[in-house]
Assembly symmetry: C2
Homo-oligomer: 246 residues x 2
Amino acid sequence: MILAFVGTAGSGKTTLTRSFGNYLGKNDYTVGYVNLDTGVMRLPYSPDVDVRDDVTAWDLMEEGFGPNGAIVESYDRLLPKVDEYAGKILKLDSELDYILIDTPGQMETFLFHDFGLMLMESLPDVLTVYLFSPEILRKPSDYCFVRFFGLIIDLRLGTTTLPALTKVDATDLDHHKKYLDDLEYLTARLKLESSTQGLLAHRLCSVLPELSPPTRVLYLSAVTGEGFEDLETLAYEHYCTCGDLT
Amino acid sequence: MILAFVGTAGSGKTTLTRSFGNYLGKNDYTVGYVNLDTGVMRLPYSPDVDVRDDVTAWDLMEEGFGPNGAIVESYDRLLPKVDEYAGKILKLDSELDYILIDTPGQMETFLFHDFGLMLMESLPDVLTVYLFSPEILRKPSDYCFVRFFGLIIDLRLGTTTLPALTKVDATDLDHHKKYLDDLEYLTARLKLESSTQGLLAHRLCSVLPELSPPTRVLYLSAVTGEGFEDLETLAYEHYCTCGDLT
């Protein structure tokens, strides 16, 4: 089974890759780790496949690129090797129970660059976990934003995508759950907002049930391990039933 | 009038800021430039407001941050100064005809960080131009992806957002226009795709007319100046009629 953790810088991809890997290991699964981030300095796990063996953002900055330019250039240079990387991951997948893919620090490097897109197209039935952290949820329309962001990641990568709130050990989880688990409540709440933004959010939320099956939101903590059993169950169901995650 | 150019690294924000500014200058408008990118090395225009006066990604990398960490940290450090920046931009706006805002190299730094969100909330009636380049449009579902990306930028920033294809001097423009201008054509084309991705794209495109007015897509070239008159007209209409860009 191949799981890819996708999310913005700071959403907890790397930490979760390690903790969920540890959890799987303790449950007697064999786990392989893939690092796709050319800009990361230290990893808390030992990657079996690592793009930094070919290129790092550091090398490119020494060549004179700025930080953003170096990151983009690093994936330009990796692009000719995308089949080689897909091959390595597939081999790992044939030998081990779980493959955990830790994606680039900046999510858009993955969603807007051919390296990420072509790699995902080459791998069978990847389950993508879209991680977002509580600090980006300030007002009702933000909950609508993350639901749609999950949907367009699914559209872009062509992989089943599970939205997952991270760092749930350090937030008012009940508050977030109210908006994330009950779409009708959220939609009704948005109806009360008279701003243009509220109106758009209300329209978007109203059509959400037509667009996708009512995908569950996961609630994860790399600190306490909360939600790991749910993620394991959903991953198992994904591979057995191919995509019905309601 | 305040225009913000938003898009991924490499979509042409900085180049367009300069060329569109030159175009406005030639048409006897006064123009102010704002740079919000802490990671840019050289700018082809002279910024009137520049976040690098306070912090650069370089300084932070010297402190030991990696490239992604340095970018995020730079906006954490700018956050307490967000009102000060809003004040500077508002002052500039009161003195000049157009203010052009060049946003962070990585789009998500702007969309997922409070600095960007709070700055946009503090400025009146910003018109956001969402730039995407032809290389990200490979298959029909990609056109659906950019339409929705524009919509969720609008949702996130709470500003009217115009989608704009860039670098149109160097691409098969007629091909892209067919998919971007005629939503019915795109929807019909997506219906032919039997993949799960195609099905989701078809559903998304089908609901698009209910979600937003039929916003025009702009076609821009920083090289030839194509589309600049259209952008000027739409900016003018935005400020006169407040948001009806059909």
